[in-house]
Symmetry: C2
Subunit: 221 residues, 2 copies
DNA sequence: CCGGATTGTGCCACTCAGTGGCATAAACCT
DNA sequence: AGGTTTATGCCACTGAGTGGCACAATCCGG
């Protein structure tokens, strides 16, 4: 429920909450490090909990699963995304463009202190760990379903109109492609570079539907 | 690896293979029934295996996970999809349109004998079981990644061009929306009705990118 | 600064998904 | 029929995830 990885409020929060946030942060950082060094399957929760000096019971009060802790960076981003979208009136201009703007805003709101590094580790792990990939996709699907439901409520759209949902799915597809290509690139894994990838992916969307592979000439090799 | 739920070859196959296929079919049918009646989490693998009179070890030689057995109908469809696509030359016309045709072909190739019913149960379960939803999305993502890689190989496309992948993701988004709305509709859960939903979702794709929610007039209620 | 109310944590035992190894039985092939 | 191949059953084991309860740390009113 709490933003967590955002170290936004180090003080002004009751001591208890700050401790919880610190524990959460420790768990995420240690998990990403251990999973990266020894593999996701090669690391048991008991080992992770021992390293952070926390009981397994506490781990499951903070995260819903072993996969969950390693997906924290992405979840933090989408949480901000949803918050920002709630503050807006998305009517009167193309929905997909609106969502693109909100996504870029949320991205810009991610903390400077290491969010990009954590995201990179998280994505690399997801690429090689089926259960993490599955967990991430489910989170994304659940979140976008919530967004669609919210939009229908706020804008009282025709429930039978498939376009709002398809619009979100288009945005999500572009986001995923941006994230994958950013993860795969050599170096320069900054937040701004990711934002550039997002813009490029969005720009490619209109042409994707009509994209036609050129017929090959006879002898090419 | 084997097509399985397709009862295409009842004979002409060695006895051993037929037995395996029968076991697989029994497992899928019984699993869908038990999961539907008692819930996914309310059914243990031991109970399922006892009902089919198969050892748990054998179950895991046929399916990779508890979720897997309940997703069999969808997987059978996409397996045919991939096979059909391999037999084609997708160059020279819009890729998305080509993929739409292949999807409708694969759909038409699904057996009459109850595929639609199994799919309906499977989707309803997935809608209420997070781990099944996650598993299904992961399968879908892995499959489409394979398709993209194959297309790049066969058509030697520019590896940096995001459009082929986005095109697939668009098709997948339309498919998912078609499947969800078909699942949610009242009655008439036939293969043909699903095909109609698929066509409708595809038709809505071009408008999704430019969809704009109408600005609300002041007093609506 | 101290009391009780509140809330987070540690420990323990438990269920159940998923895996590896090995013996056995069924189907295959002359 | 007889030897080979291949699937199945059984058993023990790891590790994720959960519920219950006692304990300790924080909070808050005096």
């Amino acid at each position: 429920m709490t933003p967590a990885a955002a170290p936004a409020a180090p003080s002004d929060l009751p001591l208890r909450e700050r401790k919880k946030l610190r524990t959460r942060r420790d768990l995420v950082d240690t998990a990403l490090r251990m999973f990266t060094e020894r593999g996701f399957d090669g690391t048991t929760l008991d080992e992770l909990c021992a390293a952070v000096e926390v009981s397994k019971r506490t781990f499951f009060r903070t995260f819903t699963s072993k996969e969950d802790v390693a997906m924290a960076p992405t979840q933090d981003l989408w949480q901000v995304f949803v918050e920002r979208l709630t503050d807006r009136d998305p009517a009167g201009r193309p929905l997909a463009a609106e969502l693109q703007d909100v996504l870029l805003e949320a991205l810009a709101a991610m903390p400077d202190d290491g969010w990009a590094e954590r995201t990179l580790l998280s994505r690399r792990l997801a690429a090689s760990t089926p259960s993490m990939d599955a967990h991430g996709l489910h989170f994304c699907n659940r979140t976008s379903a919530g967004i669609v439901a919210d939009l229908h409520r706020r804008l009282d759209l025709d429930p039978a109109d498939p376009r709002p949902r398809l619009a979100i799915d288009l945005v999500v597809a572009a986001w995923h492609h941006a994230l994958d290509s950013w993860t795969a690139q050599d170096g320069g894994h900054t937040r701004d570079a990711l934002a550039d990838r997002v813009r490029a992916a969005f720009a490619a969307l209109p042409g994707a539907l009509t994209f036609t592979a050129p017929a090959r000439v006879a002898a090419a090799d």
